[in-house]
């Protein structure tokens, strides 16, 4: 399958990329690794008239220790997130989750910013960064702004980004002293999760993100409230789906997804990985 015809522009800087996308409006899309966008274009589920290639903006590929958080450039590939010594030390949940995205070939091309901007509820990194309380940085024609991950996902494949805004950085608080767990339930290697859970816990404080449990990635706040109130993991995990509205598809009924979410939240919170 070949995508429908489009114009291709290669940006030399973030400012140029934003200016190009502003010029073409909603007909234009940013192209990073292309591993979410190109499959949609091949299937004619997306048909942008212009692609603005930002993959060569290497100054947006970095992982920096910023004291209480780690800053990740939006164009950092999954492969580099997975293998980052800074992330493995300070936010091991994110490095581990990145190692479960697609296959090695996909991780050599796909980027963390692309995955988050694509806002697919079935993707691993949106829910994981949501669980971690990340902040996303977006750059537009009028400057930059910060968007809390919890305010970012507005609908199926929809985010708070304006059409002419580019995600430039992901800021993830360090999980020093926390245990963490990542559970991805699928039937075949490299498939999307039927349900996935990313969770960390430090004493009575925790963050739990759900993959593929509705039209957006889900922050399981009822679980966190229960843990904060002293509930056992088993009791808290029963509340896994309180914020979720899972849908049925060929892999699972909604009811089965709710069951999986409870089991996987319990396993993720019981994990002793540190």
């Amino acid at each position: 399958m070949i995508p429908a015809a489009f114009d291709y522009k290669r940006a030399g800087s973030a400012a140029e990329a934003i200016s190009l996308v502003s010029e073409y409006g909603e007909d234009a899309k940013f192209l990073a690794g292309g591993h979410s966008l190109l499959p949609l274009m091949k299937l004619r589920l997306a048909q942008p008239a212009v692609l603005v290639d930002i993959a060569r903006l290497t100054d947006l590929s970095y992982i920096r220790d910023e004291g209480n958080h780690v800053a990740i450039g939006a164009l950092t590939r999954h492969h580099d997130v997975e293998n980052s010594s800074v992330l493995r030390q300070h936010v091991p949940l994110l490095a581990h989750a990145a190692s479960h995205v697609g296959s090695p070939q996909v991780r050599h091309r796909g980027t963390i910013g692309g995955s988050i901007a694509h806002a697919d509820p079935a993707s691993d990194l949106p829910a994981t960064t949501l669980a971690l309380g990340a902040t996303y940085v977006a750059q537009g024609p009028n400057g930059t702004r910060e968007i809390a991950a919890s305010d970012f996902y507005t609908g199926f494949l929809e985010s708070a980004l304006a059409p002419d805004e580019m995600l430039t950085e992901i800021r993830v608080p360090k999980t020093t002293g926390a245990t963490w767990g990542f559970q991805k339930f699928n039937r075949r290697a490299q498939d999307w999760a039927i349900v996935g859970v990313a969770a960390w816990r430090r004493g009575n404080e925790c963050g739990v993100g759900l993959v593929n449990m509705g039209s957006t990635p889900v922050l399981a706040t009822s679980v966190a409230s229960a843990i904060a109130g002293g509930a056992s993991v088993a009791d808290a995990a029963r509340l896994a789906s309180e914020e979720a509205e899972p849908q049925a598809d060929m892999n699972a009924t909604a009811e089965y997804r709710r069951h999986l979410a409870s089991v996987l939240v319990r396993r993720a919170l019981e994990s002793q990985s540190a």
């Binding site: 692609l51 993959a55 492969h79 996909v106 050599h108 091309r109 290697a189």
Partner: protein, 151 residues
Amino acid sequence: MKITVTVNGKTREGDVEARTLLVQWVRESLGLTGTNIGCDTSSCGACTVHVDGESVKSCTMLAVQADGCSVTTIEGLANGDTLHPMQQAFMDNHGLQCGYCTPGMVMAAISLLQENPSPTEEDVRIGLEGNLCRCTGYHNIVKSVLAAAGK
């Protein structure tokens, strides 16, 4: 759009439509048909090539994205009549049956060993998760990669 790509060590120039896939350019314009198209949806890995030394699925990359890069296909591995050690290991261990997935398997396996030169059997199985084989049950493929790693 004009592109210049180093393919198997040689500088190749092309004038492609932006929507041309890398696999399509390699096969149809350069005649390097060793790289197969399988699922065409970045699942099966049959189209795996190396871009700047790393495995990628060339059905999910535009030729224009490879402009200025170095691409290696299965044709670029052997040195004359001497097979690449990974190709030889697949041959010695019967790591193929119909052969359709083999070019992609070999390219993915070489990339795997570059990142992890001494993998365990489990590392190999996980490392090849992006490549599907419908004949072998993977057993001899894994054996081949472990044999190549031991050399």
